[in-house]
């Protein structure tokens, strides 16, 4: 096990390095023109441009530029030239909002996916199964920002049942926190509920034809107990793995669209606003941190998976 973890961590560090190089290349090398111009925001002064060229090392070879960029990102010395804000501070400040959105949505989509997956697997082939499957397909066909905007407009703005966007910190007002987040959670969950319930349904149906299920039935165990104790438990492993990966992806940038629509002011919205004003330093930092988070979650999922299922470690 220790060897597996060590190998996995080494691979993680290699991937992190590759990610940082790619992100650096995307913003500083690939596009033509003067990189200082792109970093400086919309209307730079000659002084800013000179300062950027000096501190980012654009007069030096590319490897030096890379090192300088990394140094800036990780020492918290990254400044947005559009409004002179420290980028890393801003990200740290916005992070709880993104996390609130992701955690709540994650719980929500897992819960409803398990319910729907069980329901459709038990009713497989009947009308209820087909109906829910069509609903799931509709769920994965709608863009999340459009669903969010519709909910926000009709349930929030028009009907006034829910607040019209915004965020209340959990520590200040837990009820208000949940109340403000119900619509974002729902909008973000729809897609995942559609995907997960379908994956779980097919896993459940696969497991139901396993020998141990027949044995359990032969022993006279009730159908309900077989379904929940034997079938569901064995079908959950792929779903839990998937959840770990998707949760990482949502925190690492997948929530960007939902945050914008509901005005949650999280990390994703910070990225979106920076894109609109063509303010590159925040986008660079968020893309890099986002990918880092995804890699970290993937590694954790792999290690947990290997702990649960010893067969993985050998390969």
């Amino acid at each position: 096990m220790a060897r597996f973890v060590a190998r996995r961590l080494a691979a993680m560090i290699a991937v992190l390095f590759a990610i940082s190089v790619i992100t650096f290349m995307i913003f500083n090398v690939i596009p033509n023109g003067d990189p200082a111009y792109r970093l400086a925001g919309k209307s730079p002064t000659p002084d800013t441009l000179a300062a950027i060229r000096r501190t980012w090392g654009f007069d030096k070879p590319v490897p030096v530029q890379y090192l300088k960029t990394m140094q800036k990102v990780f020492t918290g010395d990254l400044i947005s030239y559009t409004n002179n804000v420290d980028v890393v501070d801003e990200i740290v400040q916005d992070f709880p909002r993104t996390l609130s959105l992701a955690v709540g949505a994650g719980v929500m989509w897992m819960f409803f996916a398990v319910c729907l997956g069980l329901f459709t697997a038990v009713k497989a082939g009947r009308f209820a199964d087909r109906f829910v499957t069509v609903l799931a397909l509709i769920g994965i066909s709608m863009p999340v920002f459009w669903v969010g905007a519709m909910m926000n407009y009709f349930l929030g703005f028009k009907a006034g049942i829910f607040p019209n966007g915004g965020y209340v910190p959990l520590t200040e007002d837990p009820l208000g926190w949940a109340y403000h987040l119900i619509l974002p959670w729902t909008a973000l969950s729809l897609l995942f509920i559609g995907v997960y319930s379908r994956v779980l349904r097919s896993n459940l149906l696969d497991t139901m034809s396993e020998d141990f299920v027949r044995t359990a039935r032969a022993k006279g165990i009730s159908e309900r107990r077989i379904l929940l104790r034997h079938v569901l438990r064995n079908s959950m492993i792929p779903i839990v793995t998937l959840w770990g990966l998707d949760f990482g992806a949502v925190v690492g940038g997948g929530a960007i669209l939902t945050e914008v629509v509901f005005d949650l002011q999280g990390v994703g919205q910070y990225a979106a606003e920076s894109i609109k004003s063509l303010d590159i330093p925040p986008v660079l930092a968020i893309v890099m941190f986002g990918a880092f988070f995804v890699v970290l979650m993937n590694t954790i999922v792999d290690i947990v998976y290997a702990t649960l299922d010893p067969r993985i470690r050998v390969s």
């Binding site: 290699a14 991937v15 590759a18 990610i19 790619i22 992100t23 995307i26 913003f27 690939i30 596009p31 033509n32 023109g33 792109r38 497989a124 082939g125 087909r130 499957t133 069509v134 397909l137 509709i138 994965i140 066909s141 709608m142 863009p143 920002f145 459009w146 905007a149 519709m150 407009y153 009709f154 703005f157 349904r201 097919s202 149906l205 696969d206 139901m208 992806a249 690492g252 940038g253 997948g254 960007i256 669209l257 914008v260 629509v261 990225a271 979106a272 894109i275 609109k276 063509l278 590159i280 986008v283 660079l284 968020i286 893309v287 986002g290 990918a291 995804v294 890699v295 993937n298």
Partner: protein, 344 residues
């Protein structure tokens, strides 16, 4: 998949074929023909496939609608025009900035946006953009994925290591964020590859980005399949005949990937259309004022308070198109890969 009887279609097909043949020697049926036969029986999938074709057709007919019915184009502002709705003269955009809603007549059939532009006309032209980017990106994804997957799977060794590790790295980026990063970087300076120069606001940029970021999702399964195919007897036979690796990849491996590729295509187009919308919504895809469903939803959401139809119309059109592709794609998958479908 959704609305069809849960019976083992494959077995039924074979039995039916054997019966009709009677005493004649039983002829084999190509798997692709069996698949098409299964697809033909799936009426839901066919209906949604037809729906998608209808959407494509009406988007192709955009100039016809614009010139003959609406008498305007996708960019023209009718801020001060007045039209007759239900016998009453109405401002296209009222003095308080509220645009007219759907009139259900030739001009402003689906209403106007805040700039006094005809939404129906923009919807059709935007559909051309979105569908073009969706199909183009999906084609690019598939071509690249076939290349990378086949090379990595068949050659193995260091080629496989390099390709697979690179795919792992790309896999680690959240799709939307990677697309947005590339879109932002390229929208600023355009792209220059050797003699080819692409402007920052060109439609080719979102097409290339979406095509590239999706490659990993298809290259991985293809590689796995090639790994399995490589060990098959017919590949060994080809090698024994002295065929080179390129020839084997093209004429022995590639045809065996065709069903996977067919299954992936509609779902990839659906995915690409959704991603185009997301990138355009964030300002890193199609650049305004060019219409696409993504830019229209983006503008509509911003102005939703003045008239919700500005956001509802393009979003509903997009969702309908993607739904049609998803249902059809699901049917295609069930038809070409019956084992993927779970039966009882």
């Amino acid at each position: 998949m959704a609305v069809e009887p849960v019976v083992d279609v494959a077995v039924e097909d074979l039995a039916g074929a054997a019966r009709t043949e009677g005493d004649e020697p039983v002829a084999g049926i190509a798997p692709s023909r069996l698949a098409l036969r299964r697809l033909r029986r799936n009426k839901t999938a066919l209906a949604f496939g037809a729906l998608f074709l209808v959407v494509v057709a009406i988007c192709l007919a955009a100039p016809l609608w614009a010139n003959e019915v609406a008498h305007t184009d996708a960019y023209k502002n009718h801020l001060t025009d007045r039209i007759v709705v239900d016998g009453k003269p109405t401002d296209v955009v009222a003095p308080d900035g509220v645009p007219v809603g759907p009139t259900w007549q030739g001009r402003f059939f689906l209403g106007a946006d805040e700039g006094g532009r005809d939404i129906a006309v923009r919807l059709l032209y935007g559909g051309r953009t979105s569908l073009m980017i969706g199909a183009g990106a999906a084609l690019l994804t598939i071509l690249l994925a076939i290349m990378l997957g086949t090379l990595a799977g068949y050659l193995g060794g260091w080629v496989d290591t390099i390709i697979s590790r690179s795919l792992d790295v790309v896999w680690s980026f959240p799709v939307v964020l990677l697309g947005v990063a590339l879109g932002t970087a390229l929208a600023l300076g355009g792209l220059q590859i050797g003699p080819i120069e692409i402007q920052g606001d060109s439609l080719l940029i979102p097409l290339l980005i979406i095509g590239l970021v999706n490659v990993v999702y298809m290259a991985r399964p293809l590689r796995g399949q090639v790994l399995a195919l490589r060990e098959k007897e017919f590949v060994e036979a080809a090698r024994a005949q002295g065929l080179g690796p390129l020839r084997i990849m093209f004429s022995e491996i590639l045809p065996n990937l065709s069903s996977t590729i067919i299954v992936f295509f509609p779902l990839m187009v659906a995915n690409a259309i959704l991603l185009e919308a997301a990138l355009s919504f964030l300002g890193a895809g199609v650049q305004a004022p060019q219409p696409s469903w993504g830019t229209m939803i983006g503008a509509g959401v911003e102005k939703i308070v003045t008239g919700p139809h500005q956001a509802i119309v393009p979003g509903a059109m997009l969702a309908l198109t993607v739904l049609a592709l998803n249902v059809f794609g699901d049917g295609v998958r069930d038809a070409f890969d019956p084992r993927a479908k779970v039966r009882r």
